[in-house]
Structures are given as structure tokens and as C-alpha cells.
Symmetry: C2
Subunit: 417 residues, 2 copies
Amino acid sequence: MQLQNTIQQQAQSAKRAAQKLAILSTEMKNKALLEMASALEHRSDMILSENQIDLNNARAKNLSAPLLDRLMLNEDRLHAIAEGMRQIALLDDPIGSGLCEIRRPNGLDIRAVRVPLGVVGIIYEARPNVTADAIALCLKSGNSVVLRGGSEAINSNKIICSILASAAYKAGIPEGAIAFIDDVQRSTVATMLKLRHELDVIIPRGGKGLINYVVENSTVPVIETGAGVCHAFVDKTADFQMAADIVVNAKTSRPAVCNTIETLLIHEDIAADFLPLITKKLQSLHVTIKGDEKSRTLCPSLEEASEEDWSTEYHDLIISVKIVFDIFEAVEHINAYNTGHSETIITNDLKNARYFQGNVDAAAVYVNASTRFTDGFEFGFGAEIGISTQKLHARGPMGLKALTTIKYLIDGNGQIR
Amino acid sequence: MQLQNTIQQQAQSAKRAAQKLAILSTEMKNKALLEMASALEHRSDMILSENQIDLNNARAKNLSAPLLDRLMLNEDRLHAIAEGMRQIALLDDPIGSGLCEIRRPNGLDIRAVRVPLGVVGIIYEARPNVTADAIALCLKSGNSVVLRGGSEAINSNKIICSILASAAYKAGIPEGAIAFIDDVQRSTVATMLKLRHELDVIIPRGGKGLINYVVENSTVPVIETGAGVCHAFVDKTADFQMAADIVVNAKTSRPAVCNTIETLLIHEDIAADFLPLITKKLQSLHVTIKGDEKSRTLCPSLEEASEEDWSTEYHDLIISVKIVFDIFEAVEHINAYNTGHSETIITNDLKNARYFQGNVDAAAVYVNASTRFTDGFEFGFGAEIGISTQKLHARGPMGLKALTTIKYLIDGNGQIR
């Protein structure tokens, strides 16, 4: 109860601060971001020593090497985080720009302007860099932020947040705009999810378990991010070299991230030639391949894919393979099993390329390119708060505009209806 | 369980139909809408006789006169509904238009295009006209729709839906695109709220109870609509005649709707003059006035306003009045008690007008005009699926574009990352 009240009070302060933050000048916000970036670099000793505590705790708990790597900060990484904040300062301010003007026959002037969402809640897991990123993106777009990070990075998150908040407030950001929930009990997440009057949106960043828990329990609107069961479909007219390069890149360049492919679909007319070729390449890169019946007939060395595989995000060097009769079966399979993230076709048939883009239901639908490009920076947005896999509000990579809404300003001279 | 399965199957059929509907030509959709409108008029006898059953049941349950009026259909009203559908056929198709094109340095061409949301769930109460409106708006924007109407109008809704669906399917709309949940048990709402994999959004249309229930229990993304605790602030420089006209219009022209004002705030410097004037006018129109202490000192005939009044949507000829020290107190009161719908200031002070528009947190913020204009038709959108009082996805009156999302189409020639 005590804890619930504290969290609610932090959120209420964030809401009050948001009203002031919404009308702060771009200049003030940018100045604050630059000073916050410098503070992060000046206090790197403090941050690294707190990070060391998290790393020691993680090692004591036998966390895996990739998890330890996510958690680990050093001078270079801190410098990169500070540089990221400076980049955000350079981006156009999304706030205040007019979106449309309507003059009605009765003389009413209606303008739609872009305004901040208000208070953004971020619930995230083990990466301490998310703390700085989220604070910078929320501030730049005029939003207060309430952060709730994972237990593994609690000491790192806390010190980063405290350094950034005090630099921000010194630079004129309203007090309370940056709130950190300094408690890792699971119940703090549950409390946040019920703060419908204080928070305007919650963005969960992390694994499937966290995201499902948030979606299923939140009364605050949620933007679902991250889950990616992505596919590549190699059509019968595909250039084999291009197809192999794209499949290898999309599976192996960073297997733990969401825009990696999990399933390879191959047109049956070319399967006998392409499957052995891609199997050899993937196996030489230590990728485990799980095939359907047809592909195991062609390549008996493949493991057997189960029904569950088609909807599994492996986060690992594992891929499932299915041979399909034609593009229609490929699109049908994708729409049945994908998570609405990123899909690609490798083809030289323009009609099939357009059919694929028109009919596949996903945020990003590629022709002849790797799904790994689904990313705010690669799309040229200059920043990314996450990748939305839902259709409401934002879809695909979310830049600063995803943290805004509109407001109608209507000027009259006594109009009544 | 049986019932749950039926609803889920309807939603799955709607999802399959949505994939075909998404790529249907504007011409086909418009032709279907016109034939649906004609079918509604040709079968008016059938509809009116089913409506009579609902009216008889409602009378037997002693429903109030306004509720009976909402429920009642006649030839004129059916003609108006059909005309509304013809108007929707005339609107621009929101689907397929390119929103932006980005050519990246690596040669990737990224286009964002507007696409349907997919399957829209509508949960509504006693108005049978919502059935036809919602079907027409969803079809025009390429969406399937799953409707769940209130028990009072069940027979009217069922026949309208069945006539429209068969006309639509005959005109080439994919079967299953229009689903009606033919059961009024409360549990059908609960079932819909969990269909996260079938429904892309749920829009509740009705009273506070329904909307809160949906927001608190849905795992499907929700667009919150409708609740309106709206305010008028009469500043010290206001033109009294204009202020009185606006307040009277905003309170009395249609007290049951959401863009009606519930609270009048008056600057204390003019309260002694303006309050008796507006009190007289409102009382002559049978409006009950509940005042704070200061206003009751000036006008002892007012009833006493309690803390609860400041957050009450009366849906009736009742208004609460509060005298405020200045514009800052007015804005603070509004931001503390409003529902994010519509607010107006009556003033001749430009600085105060801009302060009010900049600092009041609501979908529509007026200067010198009645809040009653917050409406899709009055804003020139040509249609309205509801008025969003949340900030995510859509805010204020929602036209066809609110029923769409985007999709990124990316063309490459072998790019890998």
C-alpha cells in the first residue's frame, strides 16, 4: 500500500511536470539534453562502479554470457550513450507543428497541432542503455517519463537516472518529469498498469513474458513492441546468390534481435536446388535447421520441425524451413504465424512482389532485402523508442512522432450550434 | 464455452475476410454501400416490425422516454440512415494512399501506405442506427466489423445487420466481413475483450459503465470514447452577450450528448455581474444550477455543489458553477476534473486565449465558440465513428482515417545489413 502510494505520487508529479514540459521551448529541451549527456560522461566513474555491483550480482546468479554482455557498461559504451543523447538534441522537435488547418463555412478556424502524449511509462528488462535512451526521447518530445527497469540492472539504472534527472532539472526541465521506480518487486509493474489517470501510455520493452503480462493486465493504453516471428520467402524466380545472402544475413547477423528471421519458406519448384545450397551455408555458420516433411526428404540431415516451431521466436541460431506450393501458400503461412513485424520475399517476378507486399499483414514488408533493416535508425528516423507490432497508434519502428498526439485548437467569434 | 467458440469463429471468419477486403477496389466498396443503402429502404417494413418488438419490450420494462426515442425507428429515420451510407460512399477512400517515401543511402526505397486496421469490434448500447453507421464506416475503410449491440435494440440490430450483410455479400464484399453477435448475455462482451489475435481494436460506444468495463478488461487495444465533462470559462474581458449565448447553447441545445458543458467557471472580477444574468437565462430554460460557496453568496437561490459535482457528466439540464480567481485557477480546475474532451474560453484577451489553448489538456480547445461543435461532421470529416477521449491513435472526432494504420513497403535489390 505504501509502495503503491509512492508510485502513484511519482506518477502524479510526472503528470504535473508534463503540463509545464509540454510548452517548453525546443532550445531549453536541447540545452538540457546536451548537459545531461555531459553529466553522464563526467560521472562515468560512479556509473561504472554501480554497474560493477550489478555485474557481480549477475555473475553470482550465473546469468548467461549474452545477458552479462547486455548488462555491461564501459567508458566506450557510456560515450556512445551520451552521443546518442546529443543526436536526439539535433533532431527536429516534433511538438507544436501544425498538421492541418480547416476553415469551416460557419467561420470556425480549426487547427490540429502536434502535442506530447503527456506521461510515458516504460517497463523494461536488462539493458541499462534503455534508461538514458528513453529519458532523452521522452524529454525531446515533451513527455514526462516513469521508468521501471529490471532487477538485474537496478543499480546501474538508478545512478544513470539520478545523474540525468539532476542535470535536467538544473537545466530547467520541470522537477518530477523523470521518475524512476526504485523497487524491483513484481507488484510495482502491476501498480503501474492501473495508473490510468496518471499515465497516457505504457511501452513494454523486453521478452514475450513481460509483454504479454503488460498487454493482459494494463488498463493504461499499451504499445506492444518487439516480438518478431519474421519470415523470408524464396520464390521460384529468385536469384540464388541474393536469396542466400539475404537469408544468411537475416538469420545470423544478430540472432537475438526481433527483426531476425525464424522461418524460411521455399517455393517447391526450386527447393531441390536451393535447399541444399542454403543448408550448407547455414550449417557452416552453426545454424540448426528444423525442416518440414518435404524438406527433410530433400535434406535428411535436418531436424524435424513441429507445429510449435512455426510460431517460435528462437532468439538463437536456429531456423525452421518449410517448402510451399506457391506464393499463395507462402502468404497464407505467414499471415497465420507471424507477429506483424517484418517479412521479405526474394523474387524476380514483379507481380509476385506486389502480391506479397499487398497481402502480407506486417509492419514492414520487403522485396529483395534483409528484414534486419526494420529499425528506427535504418529507416532514417534518427531515433527509436521501440518497434510496434500492433496496428493502433504506431506501427513498425517508432521515432519521436510516436510519442506525440494531436490537439484541435478552434478559434471562433461567438459561434453556437 | 459453446458461445465463446461461436464468437471466436465469427471473429476468425471476419479476420479471413479482412485480408480480402483490404485490397478491394474503391469502386467495389462504394457499389456495395449504395446497394446496402437501397436494401435498407426496400426492406423498411421488416425493420420497422422488428423495431416494434424492441419498443414493446422496452415499454414493458418502463424504459424512459429519451431511451424509447433513441430506440425508435420510422421511415424518415431509416431514410436518413440510408442517406448517411450514401454519403460515406461519396467520401474519399482512405486506403492505399502513400504517406511518405524515403530513399535511403543504401538504395532501399521505403514507402508508408495507409491500410485498414483489419477487424474492428464495436460494443454499443441502445441506438440501432449505430449498427448501420459502423458497418458502413468499417467497410469503406476496408475493415471487417464484429458488432455487439445492447439488449434493448437486439431485434432491430439483428435485422438491420442481416439485410446489410446479405446486400454486401451479393455486391462482392467477402463473406464474414460483417459479424453480429446474436446474444445479449454480458459474457459475450467479456469474450470479445479477450480476442486479441482476432480483433485489432475495440471501440466501445455508450455510457461510462460500459466504457470503464471495456477499458479495464480488454486485452484488445481500445479506443476510449465519449465521456465528456466539458467546461466553459468566462474570462473577465468576455463579451457578456456572447458568453451567455455560448453557455446556453453548450448546456441546453442537447444536454444528453458528450460535447455539452457540465461546469461553468467565471472570473471573480465579473462574477457579480455575469452570474445573475446567466442564472436568470439558464433557470428560464429549466436548468438546475449547483454553485460553489462564492457563487451561492452572490446568488443564494443556487443549489450547493459538492466535490463530486466537478467530475459529474449530468446528461441532463444541470450545470455546476465555480468562481475562480484567474485564468490559472480555471485551467488548473479543468485539467484536474475534465475527461479530455472539449473546453472553451470566452475572452477578448488574446494572451489568455493562447494560454488557455496551450495549457488545457483536451482533444478540442475552443476560443469564443460552443463546445457543441466537437463532432466529425462539424469538423468537416464527413463521418464519425466516435469521439476519442484518449491520446493514443486518435484524439477527438474520428473519421475514416481513424480506422486505418500504416504499412511500410520496402523495395531493395539485395541489401543486407
